[in-house]
Amino acid sequence: MRGLFGRYRDVFIVGALLVFPFVTFLSSGHKGRDPNVVDRVVLAVAAPIQGALTWLVDGVGDGVDGYLTLRGAREEARACTVELSQTRAELNTLREASLENERLRKLLGYVERSVDTEIAARVVGVNPSPQFLSVRLSRGESDGVHVGMPVVTPDGVLGQVVRTVSGSADVMLLSDPVSRVGAVLQRTRVRATVVGTGDGKRLALENTGRDADVQANDVVVTSGTDGIFPKGLVLGTVEAVQRAPSGLFLSAQLAPAVVPGTVEEVLVVPAVAAVPPAALLPQRSTP
């Protein structure tokens, strides 16, 4: 037996390298695994490199942008000065109103929940494999980011944290084929499921009755029924609706509220925290 192993040692080793990951894949499927020591070491090495490269690319980009936009900056600065004066006056009025509001709240014994618990993070990289759509953030476990937390921008939902290590976190995008989010149409309150199509550009609407009132330009928001995403976050806008002659459900394509390729900074929302107000408001105009 020992002689046999010795004779075919190389074949056994290569076979093990082939079979072991395949068995792991078949057993874990698309769920993935929790980060082990090796994963953490790789990510600990990669995250600073990605951060440095992002800083370098953004720095060069900002420099070029700054130079190109320098022309006309003087006129813009004058206009801004005027606008600033007006805004200061408005701000003063709002401060007065805010102080009055605070006094009244105290008077009524109202306790306001903090909305400053979300964690700001920077997108430092994109997953190089087209089969899984995810991005990497500059914040991780040590900053309070945990698996399952929703990730939003002022435009709406970007995705959900699927893995986190000490200094970075990976976010599965809404457009990933595995992504499923409980949703509701803002106009008609019709329930649906928003799923990723895998192409990184579109989302799809599922589990909506064929006769439901769904039209192009309808805004779709989170329903809060999936236990992950808080209620009322913008997911996207309906682009097209197809109603097949038979079948229970209609199908619809959505333009995502957040275009992942343009996102630089995001907010990670702790599961029970309040949602940043900006994410609740649809940025697109609806007829």
Partner: protein, 168 residues
Amino acid sequence: MKVLALVGIGLLLLCVESVAVKSLGFSVTRVDVTLLLVVFLSLSAGLVEGAFAAFALGYLLDVFTGRPTGLFPFLAVLTYLVVRLGSVVVDARGRGLFALVTGAAVVAHGLFATFFTWLTSRAAQSPVASVSGLPLQAVLTMAAALALWPLLQRLDPGKERPEPGALR
């Protein structure tokens, strides 16, 4: 030691690619940098050290996906062995043939990855979305293979593979 350097280059290239895709936008097709190195290992490394390096490169890609499942280490070692087997017929240890073999490997790897992902995730959507960018991905990876060839030649892990073949 040179094999370790190749794995290190793989990690660096993955970092560069992830930042480049972020900066250029998601519509940019990926360049399969790890597969490029796996093909190079198939053509130049010894059986066991090459298999370990291919596994390591696949593992890196797996970690970068955000949801490591073991799929990419498996596919990397499989690609490594298939290219070694293929090199019995065609000795691709030249720049042009290396690029061609890399392109073919990218297409096969992409199809397998999409199939297995679809098989396990049971996603309702068609896997066509993932495959649609494959031709451009193959072309870009071939271009990267041509560009990186001089560097890879410097890191040729020993040239101790006198005869092509899968398990030699």
